[in-house]
Assembly symmetry: C3
Homo-oligomer: 141 residues x 3
Amino acid sequence: MTTLCHTEYLWFQTKNLHEFVNITDEVERIVDSSNIRDGMALVSAQHITAAVYVNDAESGLIADIEEWLKNLAPMNKDYRHHRTGETNGYAHLWNLTLGHQVMVPITNGKLDLGPWEQVYYAEFDGQRKKRVIVKVMGVTE
Amino acid sequence: MTTLCHTEYLWFQTKNLHEFVNITDEVERIVDSSNIRDGMALVSAQHITAAVYVNDAESGLIADIEEWLKNLAPMNKDYRHHRTGETNGYAHLWNLTLGHQVMVPITNGKLDLGPWEQVYYAEFDGQRKKRVIVKVMGVTE
Amino acid sequence: MTTLCHTEYLWFQTKNLHEFVNITDEVERIVDSSNIRDGMALVSAQHITAAVYVNDAESGLIADIEEWLKNLAPMNKDYRHHRTGETNGYAHLWNLTLGHQVMVPITNGKLDLGPWEQVYYAEFDGQRKKRVIVKVMGVTE
């Protein structure tokens, strides 16, 4: 039994300003190629205007989530952050609401997810290159 | 010194639709039985209408948390997700607000928690079987 | 290649009730001294009225975050938790909003952060001693 770390990066350049991308299969592929049988995968956005979260792959719910985020932190508010020239204050707050990372458990070489759990990358300020790190740590066997 | 991973599942079937269950002792028991002296325990809900969080074991605060969640994402709203036949749109948003997982540090074979830190399973759509994974990773000494 | 765990504690006693402290350099220093080249650092508040999060080191944004928290969970509300003699009900809810911990990936012995990612300790009930645990787990090379 050997302890291993395996790291890959996922790159995104979404067409739309906001986009919800199901990355479960990508994470599964990375775990497969790591040869780790038991451990955890850290899936973490490396930008502060995007989120990584786990929930349902249901389009109605995804629209509910976006509307809810718009209520919690409106897009068109005059944020102090905008004095730097930025226009994405809301996107920072959405990142903080959903969180920027998850730990996915790995058992018998597979993602150990519940029946409806899917891993999502949520882009809140897209149309440019953004990155997610997937770092798998665990043991072979 | 050996690297170990140890996994157990906790099952819940709450009497009420919403319930806050202190699972600190259960997590401690699992860490004890893992023989891991230094490491981390991932405690993660495997359903997307429940949360795992760390905070105070104080009944007034727990009632405050539930009232706060009801304000942030009302239960009786006409969520798009309900077009699938579901009625638990709010529970998905509460899961996203509190988060579905925590990492508990382990030092000298014990949960390394602050004076008031307790690990909670928060059920938002109960009265049926739900599961939490506890995966402990670390080293023996 | 050896698996290692390395643990240090950061102590805070802020001058103000609320304070946002950039702890990225402290975490980097702890990772340096761990001799871990590939792995993860758990950075976790051990008090339930403070947060640890990752976002931008921009003072306008930090003021936006505090104002946003005050809107989501007002400071002067009559929380049930206050019947215990406490006055910090809001601070518990702010902790739950931002989260109390992050996992920082480590690659080639360095924090593997995106261009604007900084690790923050957010104190919501300060002017007394509070603690953060930093536990680094990974492999030497």
